[in-house]
Amino acid sequence: MVPLSCYLMLSGILFVCGVLGFLIKRNIITIFMSIEVMLNGVNLSFVAFAAHWHSLSGQVFVFFVMVVAAAEAAVGLAIIIAVYRTRETLNVDQVNLLKL
């Protein structure tokens, strides 16, 4: 038996790591990866609560979150490629104009 708070703690730590990476990192790809870490932390808390309440709806929600994450990753990486093609940089400090 593992206490529920352990899972919630791990999920919170993962989420905070994602937020920190989102704020600290300067590489646009790494920022995207931190967003994925945040989504994973939320997924873990969904599954932990689903196991706690003996309900399967949480797992279905995790499925939907994964679908949204996949769509977001595909579109985001396409945007990154488009940005790199026009600006030749991946540093978010240098991407400060919407239009060149």
Partner: protein, 178 residues
């Protein structure tokens, strides 16, 4: 645990490919967590979708753009002075609440009957409309990715009246001759 170590390593590494590899470690250990919780379907989907598809997408993008080391930028002093104590206070509050409220609420290992049959029944009966909506969403995402990542010349229609697009037609023309 391994998961936290992977997540911290993602923050520390300066090269994106190292961050991607540590993200794979995070995904894999989370899949093990799901297995321990009894959610076999979610664990399998985690491995296939995240560790399989999304990470391959990330690694291919890193290699395509040959991303180098990122340079560190100095944060402002106000952010450090206010942010570090604020983050510490928030973390202490969350930890205190969790430890205070968590008395006997435990989750048995393998507690959930998370077999794919029950999930499929739930997914295709109760959540049928959201399922269809997500399928439309992912279709739109595919089209958006193709439009965004393709070169601008491939999308732009050659129009005879504008001189700027004449170059585009000349670029397209050798392909047509073949």
């Amino acid at each position: 645990m391994i998961c936290v170590a992977g997540a911290v390593n993602l923050l520390v590494q300066s090269h994106p490919i190292n961050s991607a590899l540590s993200l794979i470690v995070v995904m894999a250990s989370l899949a093990v967590e799901y297995l321990l919780l009894g959610a076999e379907f979610v664990a399998a989907v985690q491995v296939i979708v995240y560790a399989g598809a999304i990470m391959v997408l990330f690694v291919i993008t890193i290699m395509l753009l040959n991303a180098g080391k990122e340079e560190r930028s100095k944060g402002s002093r106000v952010a450090i002075l206010l942010g570090v104590p604020g983050a510490a206070i928030g973390g202490v509050l969350v930890a205190w609440t969790l430890l205070h409220r968590a008395n006997a609420e435990t989750v048995a290992i393998g507690a959930l009957p998370g077999d794919p049959k029950a999930i499929a029944r739930l997914l295709f009966h109760d959540f049928l409309l959201p399922f269809e909506v997500t399928s439309v969403l992912i279709l739109i995402a595919i089209m958006g990715a193709v439009v965004l990542a393709s070169r601008p010349e491939a999308i732009a229609r050659p129009h005879p009246s504008t001189p700027a697009l004449e170059e585009t037609r000349e670029l397209v023309a050798p392909g047509k001759e073949r």
